[in-house]
């Protein structure tokens, strides 16, 4: 059996609701465009599967709503994520999954920056640089094997909230 990078991750409780936002009068109006906020970004990425464990990024505390900064009027999004262990070699893959999810779901006007939370990874500069190099990302996504792994992690992303019984994706060789 392949050895997992992190054999014993700490599992956090995911919040049971899809969203903590209260219903607003405007919600049923299809024509109104709500500004995109941190909660919406969080809802998009919270259920992405971790590459190694049958758990979501939220359950592993890799993503947290408070680590997302959005400015709808400036078209900018900053997502910081916390790898489960400081030498996690899955960090780049997790960051890539977040980037692809947002690429597919957000309006193209948004500039998205993704980085590991300061002090949570021993190669944080190198990981951040890779995740934010547009050319490297574009080339990586033309790699069909890597794309397949990313898509498997994203298969659960629409579950919006607690995800039970996620089938563990194939670990990257």
């Amino acid at each position: 059996m392949t050895t997992l990078i992190n054999q014993n991750p700490v599992i956090y409780e995911a919040s049971a609701q899809n969203s903590t936002r209260e219903w607003r009068e405007d919600d049923d109006n299809e024509d109104s465009t709500d500004p995109i906020d941190a909660q919406e970004i969080f809802d998009l990425i919270r259920s992405i599967s971790d590459p190694e464990h049958p758990l979501s990024l939220e359950q592993l505390n890799v993503t947290q709503r408070d680590h997302i900064t959005v400015s709808d009027e400036n078209n900018s999004v900053l997502v910081e994520f916390t790898p489960t262990i400081p030498h996690c070699s899955m960090a780049t893959l997790i960051g890539l999954c977040i980037r692809v999810r947002l690429l597919r779901c957000l309006p193209s006007r948004f500039k998205v920056d993704i980085s590991v939370r300061k002090g949570t990874h021993q190669s944080e500069h190198a990981v951040n640089k890779q995740l934010n190099d547009k050319e490297r990302v574009a080339a990586a996504l033309e790699n069909s094997h890597l794309l397949e792994v990313v898509n498997q992690c994203l298969a659960t992303a629409t579950s919006g909230g607690v995800v039970a019984n996620i089938k563990a994706p194939v670990a990257v060789k």
Binding site: D133, E135, A139
Partner: protein, 359 residues
């Protein structure tokens, strides 16, 4: 008030446009894209620069994104650098149907080819890749290309290569935050200098018309100007390696772009510098002398640095030049004939032709 006026918007590419390259002598533009093709655009009316037509599509040879395209100095061939790790050489089939066909494929890089460039004489071709290497090829007869040298001094991806306007001297820009200068000693190529100063990936470089200065664009959101100091230079800059010139940073243009700068072009017609990147803005700078900080001989001797010699004065800033999309490439028309034209390509898949108006 100087400004960029849009002449034309060229649609056709089905994915982001990575690079735009002007033909050396005619009003013809080649652009390459994530859609794995190159499109050739021509001005159709000599009196009306707003009329353009797509007159050719180069496709079929590359299996992945075409990242860069460059015309040979005589305008008869095109080179394409692709993420499929190869470089294609294309020629117009004049005897046949007038379509471009791929007449040679250069292999060797281990992964994505990022940039290719022809030397001024057309005798050499340089290619570079994410595999950290720069390759120098000799152009032989019958579309044969011989690899002269594989240069492995960069410690990370090499993003771009650019030749000196007249000499056989090459510059390369890298993810390792440096620019390296390459020269040869009888076909033996070596690294002549390594330019450090940028705080992040250097995405693009261009020589000024004289070849004595280089402008570089970086993910650190600045442009830098580097000047060459040859051995025995009157300024007293020490050149430690025998016979080798050194390049010193003589200006940093900061505080304008607020995201990564992907492309920079130094006009050979009027000397203005155009830059563009992820902040959706094309800027045009005039590089002017900066005389507020003239260093004394002692100061230069103490630091071996010439100080700040130039400043970049913004002449025009066109926001949202490609809407909310990144701009990946800007290129000035290479000669005085249409020297005020600027081409740009962006993530929106569009190509735009602009004219700088200076009144």
């Amino acid at each position: 008030m100087p400004r960029l006026e849009q002449l034309a918007e060229l649609q056709g590419h089905e994915d982001r446009v990575w690079c735009a390259a002007w033909h050396p002598t005619k009003p013809i533009l080649a652009t390459c894209s994530g859609d794995k093709t190159v499109r050739i655009w021509q001005a159709t009316n000599a009196q009306d620069p707003t009329q353009w037509q797509c007159t050719g599509i180069l496709e079929g040879a590359h299996k992945r994104t075409i990242r860069s395209v460059a015309w040979s100095p005589d305008g008869r061939q095109l080179a394409t650098g692709s993420f499929d790790a190869t470089t294609g050489i294309w020629e117009k089939d004049e005897d046949g149907n007038g379509d471009y066909e791929c007449v040679a494929t250069l292999e060797g890089h281990e992964n994505e080819t990022k940039s290719i460039a022809w030397s001024k004489s057309g005798a050499l071709l340089a290619t570079c890749s994410r595999d950290k290497s720069v390759w120098i090829w000799e152009v032989e007869e019958d579309n044969d290309f011989e690899c002269l040298s594989v240069l492995q001094e960069h410690t990370q991806d090499v993003k771009m290569v650019a030749w000196h306007p007249t000499e056989e001297l090459l510059a390369s820009a890298s993810y390792d935050d440096t620019i390296k200068i390459w020269r040869d000693d009888d076909d033996d190529w070596y690294c002549s200098d390594s330019l450090q100063g940028h705080d992040s990936t250097v995405w693009a470089i261009d020589f000024d018309p004289s070849g004595e200065r280089i402008v570089s664009a970086s993910a650190d959101q600045t442009l830098k100007i580097w000047q060459r100091y040859k051995p025995g230079n009157p300024q007293g800059i020490v050149t430690p390696r025998r016979g080798e010139a050194v390049w010193k940073c003589v200006a940093t243009v900061v505080g304008h772009h607020d995201r990564c700068i992907y492309s920079v072009s130094w006009s050979h017609a009027h000397g203005l510098v155009a830059s563009a990147g992820a902040d959706n803005t094309i800027r045009v700078f005039d590089i002017q002398d900066y005389d507020k900080e003239i260093l004394t001989e002692e100061q230069i001797k103490a630091t071996n640095e010439p100080g700040t010699l130039y400043q970049g004065v913004v002449l025009a800033a066109t926001k949202n030049a490609h809407g909310t999309s990144d701009i990946n490439s800007v290129a000035w028309y290479p000669s005085e004939e249409h020297g005020d034209w600027l081409a740009s390509g962006g993530d929106d898949g569009f190509v735009r032709i602009w004219r700088i108006i200076r009144d």
